[in-house]
Symmetry: C2
Subunit: 427 residues, 2 copies
């Protein structure tokens, strides 16, 4: 670490404006993005609130928010309709007039003209600016944003539409605030772990926690993978280097069970490995009913390596499409190691793939028995190089969770094969 002075510890408050946010369907998701962006500047969100369009309510919330933190980021209520009055209410609260800005007005008119429409009269008020405010450009919509400084407080007004809010933040509001607050804040990284339960990950990373006592580390389990989120305070360069050191320690503790970082997905990582190795993949799915194929084909360009899946929900289809023998189905049942292995072999042969992978199980809630309770799943892998693998899972949770977790476990199995690690294997 260099001797850069620690940044001032700053706090912010977030306010989302719109009556729809007080109902039964919509949440203010913008606050997640804003909280992360503020953290990189060393600014901690201490409260969030949502309020409707009523001017009295809105004024009260603006007053409360300004009393609680020196920075307020508010979104919504900048549109052209009578319901949109965030700017008007803030101006009244600060005792500042609204001034029509001719440059904004002609940009707005031009925007409508390009779409072949004359600008409705109501849009004119979007050209009104709180006296002394910095106008923030909206590359994605008509409502400009504002940055207002008054009585030691800073207020940023952004549009509520997520795409517009993000673009305005990234291109204009964020850089302006960074010039004030700096970027010596918390820079975050996420590592993703596949194929290990949360408790095992937690045990293995214990020494990493101990080695970095000042680093806030969060462990989260979701959808059959475990995420390690950590943050380091500093300039982007300092923090990047420190994050690299922590990542190295995590990878030392977890080895190749770490499959990715930040936005990387298990299906994307598996796809990249298949492409890099010049291999193709085919599936036979029963209890996942196509969801495993669905995840693999979420990745654009997956037709480079993914050939297809035989979703054999009915037993007759297991026999007909991927050649599971009647005897195996009869003797061991559809949910068995033997059936899974024959399905994997059959899928590979049927599609002419390098690797065949099969899933058969009981997603529940019905269909279980004392020997094979709901949540029992067999995975098998059969590769042209002679590798064979099998794993039996027993998962708690409802139908949706069992199905999701099974797809993750299958992707981990494929990844392990591609990295030369195969469980339950024989060659």
């Amino acid at each position: 670490m260099t001797d850069v002075a620690a940044p001032v510890d700053c706090t912010a408050s977030i306010l989302a404006v719109g009556s729809e946010l007080l109902g039964t369907t919509r949440l203010d998701t913008n606050s997640l993005f804003l909280a992360g962006e503020l953290l990189t500047m060393g600014v901690r969100v201490v409260r969030k609130a949502c309020v409707g369009d009523d001017a009295g309510d809105l004024g009260a919330e603006l007053r409360v928010a300004l009393g609680r933190a020196p920075l307020l980021v508010a979104s919504g209520g900048l549109g052209p309709t009578a319901d949109d009055r965030t700017k008007e209410v803030l101006a009244a609260l600060l005792g500042r007039p609204l001034v029509r800005d001719e440059a904004i007005l002609s940009r707005l008119r031009e925007r409508f003209r390009r779409r072949g429409i004359e600008m409705p009269k109501v849009n004119e008020k979007q050209a009104d600016v709180i006296e002394g405010a910095v106008v923030l450009a909206n590359p994605r919509g008509s409502a400009p944003g504002f940055l207002v400084e008054a009585a030691g407080k800073t207020v940023v007004l952004l549009p509520g539409v997520p795409d517009e809010l993000k673009a305005m933040w990234v291109e204009d509001a964020g850089p302006r605030l960074a010039r004030v607050y700096g970027t010596t804040g918390y820079h975050r990284r996420t590592l993703k772990v596949g194929g290990l339960p949360e408790s095992v990950v937690e045990e293995r990373v214990e020494p990493v926690y101990a080695a970095h006592p000042d680093c806030p580390i969060t462990i989260l389990a979701a959808g059959g993978e475990v995420q390690l989120q950590f943050a380091v305070r500093g300039t982007p360069e300092e923090a990047g280097a420190a994050l690299d050191r922590i990542e190295r320690d995590f990878r030392k503790a977890l080895g190749s069970d770490v499959f990715g970082r930040n936005d990387e997905t298990l299906e994307g990582v598996v796809g990249d490995l298949l492409r890099a190795r010049g291999l193709t993949l085919a599936l036979a799915e029963s209890c996942t009913g196509g969801l495993l194929a669905g995840r693999l084909t979420d990745v654009a360009g997956s037709s480079d390596y993914f050939l297809g899946s035989a979703v054999t929900y009915a037993n007759a289809a297991k026999a007909d499409l991927v050649g599971v023998s009647e005897e195996t189905l009869e003797r061991f049942g559809a949910v068995s190691e033997e059936t899974a292995r024959e399905m994997a072999f059959g899928a590979r042969k049927r599609f002419g793939a390098s690797v065949g992978v099969a899933v058969t199980g009981i997603a529940g809630p019905g269909g279980g028995s004392p020997e094979k309770p709901a949540g029992t799943v067999h995975l098998a892998l059969d590769a042209a190089d002679g590798t064979r693998g099998h794993r039996k899972l027993l998962m708690p949770g409802g139908r949706a969770l069992v199905r999701r977790w099974t797809t993750s476990a299958a992707l981990v199995m494929i990844r392990h094969y591609l990295m030369g690690r195969t469980e339950g294997g024989r060659k």
Copy 2:
């Protein structure tokens, strides 16, 4: 309508407590449930806020919330750790002592004993009750909730874990509040429409809006379906009758394009129709890559009617698994009406199903051409009764949207066939 007096117009404020709610990953989803429940009592949420575990911050937020509405529903911070202090901070704010409740204490001890664990010392504080508060039972966890009345205000404290919060609301807090506020509030209903764009739905339901000017109606488009949400104020019985009348008008305007209500799903409705008609279904999927089969098998018990899907991502698989002719692939291409029709026929034959449905298209972002841009999809249906159908779609939006909308369009096509309406058909 009977002459029941209009309910008093009441307002409430919602507060979620927990530092994790101020970060980059978690939102307070409980507020959506609470807003709906309060509406049925005629109570309108006028603000929501989230605050961290800091006692000073929490006290400030409780004070603000109590100043803004006569009812406050707060969740979180009732656990056993030092971070959990909602109850303590509220007690201090109201100037009321905490009193240890021996009955709660022994229930807590018993709860641990049943799990074979001795109760940790820290849990004892969960038996402390704000003097004069009503204790709310927690059927799903250890933290009891509280209902406190003070100085004309009512505060309900609930646990933050969604399952615990819902169970406590439904079984205890909700009925208690209903005795005060009544149930003459807004009762809601949702109708779901498939296969029509939002603008067409809006045009068709215009007369329904006009016929019910006082009924708040929301129209929402998501994932290839359109939802109409509406609410009526009154007792549950009155409101139920009025909702039925409005639903009848919507159904008159939209006919059989209304596929369901409230929690019903397109895949569930299609499954019920297949089961009722004693028919079986098989698929051949290309661009949806298994997602259509995935949706159909999300429904527990779908093995009654769903036989399987040939996910034929590669062209060779289209020929081999479902018998699309090389000539058709060559002459018309994989994304064509002809290929879709042969896939549907082949899927029906291959799985021995009553109905075969096929999807082939370009999900994008790559793979498009001027004649067949990304978003071009062909759907086909081939039934044992001789019905044949085809639809061509051209969808805007990214890969994920195109894939999701395609599955909805295919489910609508299956539903139409099962109801005797087949587009692009020949028999």
